[in-house]
């Protein structure tokens, strides 16, 4: 049976439309790489300066000048380009990246995202996350529905310092797929076998659930 992580990634892969430019955030989203088939014409952007990343194949020798923003050795697919950091972020700020997947410490009903700093505990710097979150056309958050202590990560209102305001379009967790709407978080899909009431109980934000239209994943 698929792990929670595998289910999140398999569901996330269905968000990608052939012909798009997609950025994969560090951590869980980076693993989406392996869910995009080689024959699919999608260019993966990495903000250190490459468009058209693909994972190294088994046994392929690493090129020491070719990494993604997470620091992993990658290779490129046909149609790829490399460029400096100014061009890379111009692409982001001008919304020329169609879709980005990012992790989250917290995400809330208004689509606010916090994923860069936990005051007093974790503050390694913001990297490219702020510009990606604020400017990419569509931001999909991939995260566990609850933290390792069982606390909800899908909140009524974020408490940590924000990465960007009102930036999230969709949230995919092990328990549900939720869209940020003007009325609040609307559940699109719910995990196979999970009861809607249990989903709401695991979530701080009020969820809009229309059981007649609910998908399963």
């Amino acid at each position: 049976m698929a792990s929670d992580t595998q289910r999140i990634l398999a569901r996330a892969a269905r968000e990608v439309i052939p012909g798009q430019i997609v950025n994969l955030g560090i951590g869980l989203p980076t693993r989406l790489f392996h869910y995009l088939p080689d024959e699919m014409e999608v260019l993966v952007h990495s903000e250190n300066g490459v468009l058209g990343c693909r994972p190294r194949r088994e046994g392929e020798a690493p090129d020491h000048d070719m990494i993604d923003s997470g620091g992993a050795y990658i290779t490129t697919r046909p149609g790829a380009s490399v460029f400096d950091s100014a061009t890379s972020f111009a692409m982001i700020r001008r919304s020329r990246v169609d879709l980005t997947f990012m992790g989250a410490f917290e995400v809330d009903a208004a689509g606010n995202l916090a994923n860069w700093k936990i005051p007093g505990k974790f503050s390694p710097g913001i990297g490219g996350a702020m510009e990606l979150a604020q400017k990419v056309r569509r931001l999909v958050v991939l995260c566990s529905h609850n933290d390792k202590h069982g606390n909800p990560k899908i909140l009524a209102r974020c408490r940590l310092p924000l990465t960007a305001r009102s930036c999230v379009s969709r949230i995919i967790t092990d328990k549900a797929v939720m869209d940020v709407t003007p009325e609040g978080l609307a559940v699109v899909d719910i995990a196979e076998g999970l009861d809607p009431a249990d989903l709401q109980a695991a979530t701080e934000a009020a969820l809009i659930i229309d059981e007649s239209r609910l998908g399963r994943f």
Binding site: R77, P78, A90, R93
Partner: protein
């Protein structure tokens, strides 16, 4: 944005979608880098009331010179008209509104739009008539003039090579304003002498990554008509 897989267009279809009264950036410094085929197609397509942004006005009878002579251009934002006496005549006769910017500031105003900034701070031209009326702000104890970003609906650019995703390679001094404009406009239409499959362009040689380009059309090499007229050296 246009999907990577849907960028290759017929030249007339590409320019037909440009609206009447559009603001259009046009690459080129003199003839090199001027997208002559796209401009000829635009002339044929018939849109008027245009605002053009180009370093210069080409020479009479070619490039944007033709559009100006046909009365299609209401306003020109430029750096220098020295090679086009018909454009200067149109300006002097009040048929063409012209805004001049120092060349490097024009380049940076375009680059600023391409970088997603609102403007930049410069000390160029302070104390001259170019800076008259320019707002100032103090940074690091010095006054700086604010130059707002210059935006456009469309950019028409010329490249030596492209692939069907829209990656572009320029050649020699045909680069000039093209890479800047290719990043700056809402819709970017590129013409190229050669159109390849993705993977054919060397990745370190690509000047404009495909993310910025909306449509690509393949065109024939410019005619000698569109070359530089004999002058200078």
């Amino acid at each position: 944005m246009t999907l990577l897989t849907e960028k290759v267009r017929d030249i007339q279809a590409a320019v037909a979608a440009i609206p009447e009264g559009a603001t259009i950036m046009v690459g080129g410094f003199g003839s090199p880098g001027t997208p002559f085929a796209l401009l000829d197609a635009l002339l044929e397509s018939g849109q008027g009331g245009l605002t053009l942004i180009k370093n210069d006005a080409n020479e009479p009878g070619i490039g944007i010179g033709k559009l100006i002579e046909a009365g299609r251009v209401t306003r020109l934002i430029t750096s220098h008209l020295g090679l086009n006496r018909t454009a200067i005549e149109a300006m002097n006769a009040g048929r063409l509104e012209v805004s001049f910017h120092p060349q490097g500031l024009l380049a940076e105003k375009i680059r600023c739009a391409g970088a997603g900034h609102g403007g930049f701070l410069t000390d160029i031209g302070q104390g001259t008539e170019i800076a008259a009326g320019r707002r100032e702000v103090e940074v690091d104890g010095r006054p700086w003039g604010i130059e707002p970003a210059l935006h456009a609906d469309v950019a028409l650019v010329h490249a030596e090579r492209a692939d069907r995703y829209g990656n572009l390679i320029y050649r020699a001094t045909a680069s000039n304003f093209n890479p800047l404009m290719a990043m700056a406009a809402e819709r970017v239409i590129a013409q190229a002498y050669r159109l390849d499959a993705p993977g054919e362009l060397p990745i370190d040689a690509i000047h404009t990554p495909c993310a910025f380009v909306s449509q690509v059309v393949q065109v024939d090499r410019a005619t000698s008509e569109q070359g530089v007229r004999p002058h200078g050296l």
